[in-house]
Amino acid sequence: MVFKHQYISATEEDKKAMLDELGIKSVEELYRDIPKKIRLNRPLDLPSPLVEADLKRFIERMMDKNVTHKDMPVFLGSGVWLHYVPAVVRSLAFLPEFLTAYTPYQSEISQGILQALFEYQSMICEITGMDVANASMYDWASALGEAALMAGRATKRKEILIPRIIHPERKATLKTYIHNIMSFKEIPYNTETGTIDLNALDNAISGSTAAVYVENPNYFGVVEHEVAEISSIAHENGALFVVGVDPTSLGVLAPPGEYGADIVIGEGQPLGVDPSFGGPLIGLFACRDDKALIRNMPGRLIGMTEDTQGNRCYTITLQTREQHIRREKATSNICSNEALCAIQVAVYLACVGPKGLVQLGETCMANAKYVMKRINEIEGFTAPIFDSTHFKEFTVKSQIPVDEVHRMLLDRGVHGGKIIKNEFPELGEASLYCVTEIHSIEDMEKLLEALTEISRSSG
């Protein structure tokens, strides 16, 4: 029986016509040059093909075993956050002309994507206070790896200073990227405030330091307010100042460009990209308009130019940094990035606008502060652990073992924060909670009631 599938257009007649043109009897003759010894002479051991209706049902049944924040309130953050994705973001970013397009190497026929990405780059520059942004990296963690390597190339130095308070997966990724090429040192934090210890930074920095890296807000949700001082320390020692951001904070916190950042990285996912169990995400990457920095920058850059008629248009530019031109001398190996996610971010920023970005920050901060305050009132819980301004995430310490709290919350239909006691043992029984604009007052009250019950039942 002839296998017929909707994705393959060739009919038996089509195949016969092509075989005749080639003067051969079967397609098998086109595989004659593969040594018999290694030919796979059996069908691959894969499930039998499913027609679309059955396929959909099969996957739906499997995914029914998942629970989302629509079924139970989830208070997780830590690198991926739950925010609302406006309908207009999906309907425009997923237009087939964007979704099924290739990388815009043929500029003349790809002005749509090129301009959309130019606008994305522009908006990232505006919110971060930088001049140049690339068309995306894979995520914040890999952007950190690339930023370290870039700082190494630009300064010809081999060390990066990072905060002790950092997402463990970002640290792990950095390690992989700089392995045998650069080294890193961790700067301790002030145990009262949870902010970077400036004295320790001053002592640690040297002529070997390529970059000082700071996250703002940091992994614990704490707002670093001495960033101008950190910038000075970095620059006085000839190091670059790299800042990592959660861009949902940039409506209410000063953009890193205003306090001296040379490179800004971050995670664009909370601006219009669904969490999708951790990917695709989108790494932000921006720098100052400095020839030495731009020359060393990884990733694709879209620039403005003209066509033969003098019409304003766009094209991929400064390609001599990239792998397809420079090969082993490229600033990075990155080829495919997260372009469609960049369009989602651009549509999101354009639709919420300046007031929206401020509103987003305000609502998240207010909701988080409310929950933080009320948790602190529950016996057996301290929130936050640090005496500082927090953005949308905060630490919670509990007298009851945190694994038990987690289980008891799940039993009551609530997903608590991320358990961080193994990442930061010095904090004891600690978790990292996140509250955003998607949490309704009912969601928040449900968490608080559950914690109150847990507190009571534990005596």
Binding site: H5, A10, V27, L30, Y31, D33, I38, L44, P47, S48, L50, I59, N66, L76, V80, F98, T100, A101, Y102, T103, Q106, S107, E108, Q115, L117, E119, D131, V132, R170, T173, N180, H225, V252, L253, S276, F277, G279, P280, L281, I294, M304, E306, N311, R312, T315, E322, H324, N333, S336, E338, A339, L340, C341, V347, A350, G353, L357, L360, K369, I441
Partner: protein, 515 residues
């Protein structure tokens, strides 16, 4: 596809097509209103903005566009109409495998139970997601003949870097990394191969291809030794030719203690025919956005899973999805002391992976076999018909069959008419067809790398051949039309020199430039 093709042109005013979003912004408009904190919260917490320390509080207004939802919709739709895509027409880009992107996959990826999952949720709440990852891993392992597969890398190049980090760790583990400094690549390799090797801290040794376009075994023998960490190869190679001597190549590398890396970009033509694991490869990366139909999105997101042979399994990035028989549940295993660590946060591009999984479920082994056969038949058909056109040739082993792609040379056309592969590419756009890849691989002069894929209709293949015939006759006759192409796209030839000489990379830089 005919000369009647004309791409949309949205032109607002002289010299300006679709305005930039900043230019259509009007103060006071908004495209989406976000929720405010409710009264109960506000009464409890007061003015949160005032609570931010003054020196870190944002004071300068955010410069984002202010547009209404209708403006936003029209703006992006105008841009979309000035963009080419697989859904519009033929995209014979070699090495990119621009096959049709199934719509059911999009529907599935957008399900709440997939798109709204947080990666740090308790394993008990994400069993469906973990099960999908586990099953998909097994499928890729079977397709490639490898033991286990990591789904973490976000793209092919990311997969290459992952594979090279594994090679690095393997040699470190044996105390040999001080010596094993070199990665060998053929001169026909994709640019990401040497770029990835460099990122992983290796130096790159490039070997010339032989006159038949394949790896020159003698050249290979002279460069291997105790300093060899590994060889990166794609098979079929970038000419679309199967490296018949792959078992010999494998022996040469393994006999000096090196590892063999497979760039999976060219997997489409050999699915169910031969597996990299059986060819002797130790590490493989896949491009889900090529072979497995996930959409390119104008440059991503893709995914680049990496498969390894048993001896390299301990080095895979963490975490790996495992199944606990006793508990009857899937879990994430981080307890892997020899792992290279992480290549990025979380587990991989799950939203892309589900599309590839759905694709394989739709086709099965029978379907993937058909995919390979039709892809190969289409490519060979085009190779034969195009090389017969004046000015074009099929360099390197003309009589050898190709697999999923072929590389045509326009060197004769250039020599006899002055029309280059670049010009040909631009003229192809005038017919509503995307140009093939040009000037790659570097070992072919005036290269046009053509990969039709199995999803294309024969009518379109024939139409493409007609277009190439037309362009050839134009080149030998009234060549001006080719030299000044394209004419039917929304803009004419773009000045790339100007773009690089005076870079304007953002609205901010544009404002400076204007003043």
């Amino acid at each position: 596809m005919a000369e009647g093709f004309k791409q949309a042109i949205w032109k607002e005013r002289d010299k300006v097509l679709e305005p930039l979003i900043f230019e259509i912004s009007v103060p006071g408009r908004v495209g989406h209103v976000l929720p405010k904190a409710c009264d109960k919260v506000v009464s409890e917490v007061g003015d949160v903005l005032k609570s931010i320390p003054e020196k870190i509080r944002r004071k300068t207004p955010v410069n984002l566009p202010e547009v209404s939802e209708i403006q936003l919709t029209r703006h992006y739709l105008h841009l979309a109409q000035m963009n080419y895509a697989v859904d519009l027409g033929f995209y014979p880009l070699g090495s990119c495998t621009m096959k049709y992107n199934p719509k059911i996959n999009e529907e599935i990826a957008r399900m709440d139970k997939i798109s709204r999952l947080h990666p740090y949720q308790d394993a008990s709440t994400v069993q469906g997601a973990l099960e999908l990852l586990y099953r998909f891993e097994k499928m890729l392992a079977e397709i490639s003949g490898m033991a286990r597969v990591t789904l973490q890398p976000s793209a092919g190049a990311h997969g290459e870097l992952t594979g090279l980090c594994i090679i690095r760790k393997y040699h470190e583990d044996r105390g040999e990394i001080q010596n094993r400094r070199e990665i060998i690549v053929p001169d026909s390799a994709h640019g990401t191969n040497p770029a990835s090797a460099n990122m992983a801290g290796f130096s790159v040794v490039t070997i010339p291809s032989s006159t038949d376009g394949c790896v020159d075994l003698e050249a290979l023998r002279t460069v291997v030794g105790k300093q060899t960490a590994g060889l990166m190869l794609t098979n079929p190679n970038t000419l679309g030719i199967f490296e018949e001597e792959i078992l010999e190549i494998s022996d040469i590398i393994h006999s000096v203690g090196g590892l063999l890396y497979y760039d999976g970009a060219n997997l489409n033509g050999v699915l169910n025919k031969v597996r990299p694991g059986d060819m002797g490869f130790d590490i493989v990366h896949f491009n889900l956005h090529k072979t497995f139909s996930t959409p390119h999105g104008g440059g991503g997101p893709g995914a680049g899973p990496v498969g390894v042979k048993e001896k390299l399994v301990p080095y895979l990035p963490i975490p790996i999805v495992e199944y606990d028989e006793k508990k009857g549940a899937y879990y994430l295993d981080y307890n892997r002391p020899k792992s290279i660590g992480k290549m990025k946060g979380f587990y991989g591009n799950f939203g892309v992976i589900v599309k590839a999984y759905s694709y394989i479920l739709s086709l099965g082994a029978e379907g993937l076999n058909e995919v390979a056969e039709v892809a190969v038949l289409n490519a060979n058909y085009l190779a034969k018909k195009i090389r017969e056109i004046p000015g074009f040739s099929l360099p390197y082993a003309e009589d050898k069959p190709r697999k999923h792609e072929c590389v045509i040379s326009a060197a004769k056309l250039k020599a006899e008419t002055g029309v280059t592969a670049f010009d040909v590419a631009k003229r192809i756009l005038d017919f509503g067809i995307h140009a093939p890849v040009v000037y790659f691989p570097q070992i072919v002069e005036e290269a046009l790398m053509i990969e039709p894929t199995e999803t294309e209709t024969k009518e379109n293949l024939d139409a493409f051949v007609s277009v190439m015939k037309k362009i050839s006759s134009e080149a030998y006759g009234e060549k001006e039309k080719v030299l000044s192409a394209p004419h039917s796209t929304s803009v004419s030839r773009v000045d790339e020199v100007r773009a690089a000489r005076k870079p304007i990379l953002s609205w901010k830089m544009y404002q400076k430039y204007k003043s």
